[in-house]
Symmetry: C2
Subunit: 229 residues, 2 copies
């Protein structure tokens, strides 16, 4: 079969679940659609894939376009390919998810959207979404909840310098549990992934908290060794 003979009518879109933590809440970047279909519903940042870009490049471009961030953690999530996802015609969406440090953020409003903003999980429960974007978000949340357990991706949500309480808060927020402070610190020390700095965060009239930084900021690392079952 020659490629030019293929008469396949599928549009390839790409959507990104961009996550951050602000005020101890996990938040998703969403836009409110101003055009049909699904006008006035919320949707993920995304677009049609430019055929001259690889999927990873296309994802980077969208992230840059909507957040002005170009070095975040960005990973493919899943490809959504049900029929009738999009009323306009057959469309599959390659979904990605990104984790960004809120302090690095610089939102770029787009003409296409009248609202672009961060919404917490409790906001999301009440909202109506375009396409299957609620499902995409749910799968992204499941993924990060799972992945934070055995990798160091929590890094991506923090600035260069952070306190151990801040790091712990990231875990608690994502896993929706509380963690014992002493056990947490013991484990982090064992993992040998952070270095203490000689700087302290002053917070009102409390004892200042020591700042730490990650040894390897960018690289995703598997922390847990495999056991056989």
């Amino acid at each position: 079969m020659n490629h030019s003979e293929i008469n396949q009518n599928i549009v390839v879109a790409l959507d990104i679940v961009i996550l951050t933590i602000k005020d101890n809440l996990l938040k998703v970047l969403l836009t409110k659609r101003t055009i049909e279909p699904y006008i006035h519903r919320y949707s993920l940042p995304g677009g049609i894939v430019d055929e001259k870009l690889s999927l990873d490049e296309a994802a980077k471009n969208i992230l840059k376009r909507d957040t002005n961030i170009s070095d975040a953690f960005l990973e493919q999530l899943y490809t959504f390919g049900d029929l009738n996802r999009d009323k306009r015609g057959r469309t599959i969406s390659v979904a990605y998810y990104a984790l960004i440090d809120y302090s690095k953020l610089n939102l770029i409003p787009s003409k296409k959207y009248d609202e672009i903003g961060w919404y917490s999980l409790s906001d999301i429960k009440k909202m109506k979404f375009a396409f299957d974007h609620d499902k995409i978000i749910q799968i992204a949340l499941d993924r990060i909840k799972n992945k934070i357990e055995y990798t160091n991706i929590a890094f991506q949500l923090l600035p260069e310098k952070f306190t151990l309480a801040e790091l712990q808060q990231i875990y608690e927020t994502i896993l929706e549990t509380s963690i014992d402070k002493r056990n947490f610190r013991k484990k982090i020390a064992e993992l040998d992934m952070v270095v203490e700095l000689n700087e302290y965060k002053k917070m009102g009239r409390m004892r200042p908290a020591q700042y730490y930084k990650f040894k390897e900021r960018t690289k995703e690392t598997i922390l847990k060794a495999n056991k056989w079952v």
Copy 2:
């Protein structure tokens, strides 16, 4: 943007890494191409996605077409979207992987292929592949190696009745380790996922081995609880 105005020239393909275990070796189903491009190289079963089928349906169809199996474990793996994957034009491939019980197998030879067959990991190392199919296989192997640790997917590689030695062999083959027999049996018993049968497998002049079956044959189950880090 109206869908009909989109002039995007990307072909959506779908490839499946079909895995089984035979003679204590993990094997992949491959075909040798008889047409250009990549003539005489090995490739995964797959094809162009029919726009009238969802991705999951398309994957099922291909699995059925090439193995005549319709109830196997089949899960989306990853979507490969680099430029120049296919010399003929821009193509992305939504890859799936499947685990099947070799004893259920009934290969359907296709005109398109002059050889369709099972190849072990040691075979694969020496072979030349079409497209990026070597990369796809590697990612499927990584996935199953990881997933066998915390789910019951090993089920899918065994027939209804099996002995504990056979189950253990599946784990040993996939994880490429040896496991202590007593510890393995203890763990399997704790997981409460198998039931003993009053049937025994006779094997020459050795003591017969008791047959077991899985409690829930079809459902994928998460076996390991999440810890916080």
